[in-house]
């Protein structure tokens, strides 16, 4: 197992800085996921940890040792690539055994380790095949096997499931999680898929534009997002945002949506906490599952809306609603789904809303 520490890690290509002084600690045995949209620098960061990209400034430590100038082969890490990167001219056995042969391990040890890894991943029957004779999922397993046999301190995964179809992806996701639980090695996993991040991670690192936006558990990231970006990136469908203004009144706090025609009264518990932000222009954020067709909690507030689109998904139904301030998507039980064009009252759970600063996008933390 290994501990990874990044200190002011910066990457520049010529005059363009793509990673802006990142500080991050990944703990022993942790499953950390770097998540963010395309071009946010997550793969670059991973490749810098792997030693495949040089860092322009800063420091990377693996188990306390500075590895800035250490070649990849000396970092005791294994990596699974997005495109698998199997050696096409070698059999599956030789793909798995390659690193061990380079280390000049005895033949019997190589055989034993390869067979063990193949057993874990259920690819024993494929050992004689060439990669071109394998399906996408089998190739992915071989790529993982190649990482396992090395018994590295640190596993790196660079979007390993993005080339698989949806069904295989969810299967392999579970496999990776099981593998981590079984092996327990520190793992850094890069993905642009927030579902993968939420399901796999012990801690998620959300990146955007070469900066860390938030580091936290999946629960933190989902329920306590630090910014509008993070809130909008997690969840499917993502959080709804409506422009709003906080209005203070002598008795309570009200959130005026859009042009002010719609008013939501904050629950008493939160009213006091947000009072300090009175008269500020904000973004009101509410997750689709915190909207309902009927009153559920004491602090729910209703809002008139018209149903624009209804999308039945079987277990749930998504309804796109037009309310005065803009569009919102709500997640409803199928039996409560309204019809398109219907005028309804949608109930907003006022214990679950989020407020973000209109200008900076930072969350307004209730005190």
């Amino acid at each position: 197992m290994a501990e990874v520490a990044l200190r002011s890690v910066t990457k520049r290509y010529g005059a363009v800085e793509v990673i802006h002084g990142i500080d991050l600690d990944i703990r022993h045995g942790e499953f950390a996921v770097f998540v963010g949209p395309s071009g946010c620098g997550k793969s670059t960061l991973l490749r810098m940890i792997a030693g495949l990209e040089e860092i322009t400034a800063g420091e990377i430590r693996i188990d306390g040792r500075i590895v800035n100038h250490l070649p990849p082969r000396d970092r005791e890490i294994a990596m699974v690539f997005q495109d698998y990167a199997l050696y096409p001219h070698k059999s599956v056995f030789d793909n798995l055994a390659f690193s061990l042969k380079l280390r000049k391990l005895p033949k019997e040890d190589i055989e034993e380790r390869v067979r063990a890894a193949a057993g874990i991943l259920k690819i024993e029957h494929l050992l004689d095949r060439k990669p071109r004779a394998l399906s996408g999922g089998q190739r992915q397993r071989v790529a993982m096997g190649r990482a396992i046999v090395r018994q590295p301190k640190l596993f790196l995964f660079d979007e390993p499931l993005s080339n698989l179809d949806a069904l295989l992806r969810s299967e392999m996701r579970a496999e990776i999680k099981k593998l981590h639980q079984r092996i327990g090695k520190t793992t850094i996993y890069v993905t642009h898929d927030q579902v993968e991040a939420m399901t796999l991670a012990e801690r998620i690192v959300v990146l955007s534009g070469g900066n860390i936006m938030q580091v936290g558990t999946p629960d933190d990231i989902y329920n306590r997002p630090a910014s509008k970006f993070v809130a909008g990136f997690t969840g499917s469908p993502p959080m709804n945002f409506l422009p709003a203004r906080i209005a203070a009144s002598p008795v309570a706090l009200e959130i005026l949506l859009g042009d002010g025609s719609a008013r939501l009264a904050a629950s008493l518990a939160r009213a006091g906490a947000y009072a300090v932000f009175a008269n500020r222009n904000v973004e009101f954020g509410i997750r689709p599952e915190d909207l309902a067709m009927r009153r559920v909690g004491a602090n729910d507030v209703s809002l008139p809306a018209q149903v624009v689109v209804v999308e039945p998904l079987g277990a749930e139904t998504l309804a796109t609603l037009q309310c005065g301030a803009g569009e919102m998507i709500c997640r409803l039980p199928p039996n409560e789904a309204p019809a398109a064009g219907e005028n309804i009252s949608i109930w907003v759970n006022m214990d679950k809303f989020h407020l973000f600063d209109s200008a900076s996008g930072s969350v307004l933390r209730a005190n």
Binding site: R73, I77, P88, L102, P131, R132, R139, N163
Partner: protein, 276 residues
């Protein structure tokens, strides 16, 4: 129907023209090598040898030290091909993979250099080899052939190396290879079609070269085949039939090289290593 004519039939026609253009002279030489001198000069001409004979082959070995020429050509072509491939693989890898500031300029330079007419290099090369005391030696031809083959080999390998996914090299480097190790263990084997094609071109170029060979290696014991074959020609005689036999003998190694490596010159070996 018109579409069919323009696609399938026209392609066949083009293929037949190309193959005939290349194969006919070689076939004619093979047929000539089995004809007697009398048959060669008779009219009307015969296409198929009427009394096929191996006498021309016996004469080819009797009149000139053909095995010596064969050995010289083989040694010089083999060494220059291997060295060319080695050096051009390194150059091509650098051009294909490293972030180089003047990459395009270097590639243009390589193309420009390869277009120099050989005849302009003859005098300087002769002077250099004389200065180095290398005239009439294997090195006199190995060195210039290696250098002359570098541009074509480098350009071919650059395009093949560029097609090999970087992540395969990265995976090899994580598995324990150095950068050069990943070049020799991954890039070169995966670019085998390119490497063998470049090698065959380099070998044939060296095997066929006449001008430099005649100028730099005039001594019999270092003569290569193209120059040696010219020696069959006398002041008053031009023994086509014997020269044809010698030419057939000269073609055999090339045919063997091509046949040996034709399986390797099949692209698509990389399929399967990556997604898809």
């Amino acid at each position: 129907m018109t579409g069919l004519l323009s696609s399938v039939r026209m392609r066949w026609l083009a293929a037949i023209i190309v193959v005939a253009n290349g194969a006919f002279p070689a076939l004619w030489i093979v047929l000539t090598s089995f004809k007697s001198e009398a048959e060669l000069t008779q009219k009307p001409i015969t296409y198929w040898p009427q009394n096929a004979t191996l006498a021309n082959y016996i004469a080819a070995f009797r009149d000139q030290p053909l095995p010596v020429y064969l050995l010289n050509s083989a040694v010089i072509a083999t060494i220059s091909t291997i060295v060319s491939l080695f050096v051009s693989a390194l150059a091509a890898y650098a051009l294909a993979r490293l972030r180089m500031k003047y990459r395009d300029f270097i590639l243009t330079g390589i193309i420009a250099v390869s277009m120099f007419p050989l005849v302009t290099l003859m005098v300087p090369l002769f002077e250099i080899m004389r200065g180095l005391n290398l005239l009439n030696s294997y090195w006199a031809l190995v060195l210039p052939y290696t250098v002359l083959n570098l541009p074509i080999c480098t350009l071919m390998l650059v395009s093949f190396f560029q097609d090999i996914p970087r992540d395969i090299e990265n995976a090899a480097m994580l598995d324990g290879c150095t950068r050069l190790g990943s070049l020799w263990r991954m890039v070169v084997p995966l670019a085998a079609p390119g490497v063998f094609t470049a090698g065959i071109i380099a070998f044939v170029n060296a095997w066929d070269e006449f001008l430099l060979s005649m100028s730099l290696n005039a001594a019999t014991q270092y003569r290569t085949l193209p120059v040696g074959i010219q020696m069959y020609q006398g002041e008053w005689a031009f023994p086509w039939h014997i020269i044809s036999a010698a030419l057939v003998i000269a073609m055999v190694p090339i045919i063997i090289v091509v046949l040996l490596f034709q399986d390797r010159v099949v692209s698509g070996i990389t399929s399967g290593g990556l997604k898809g």
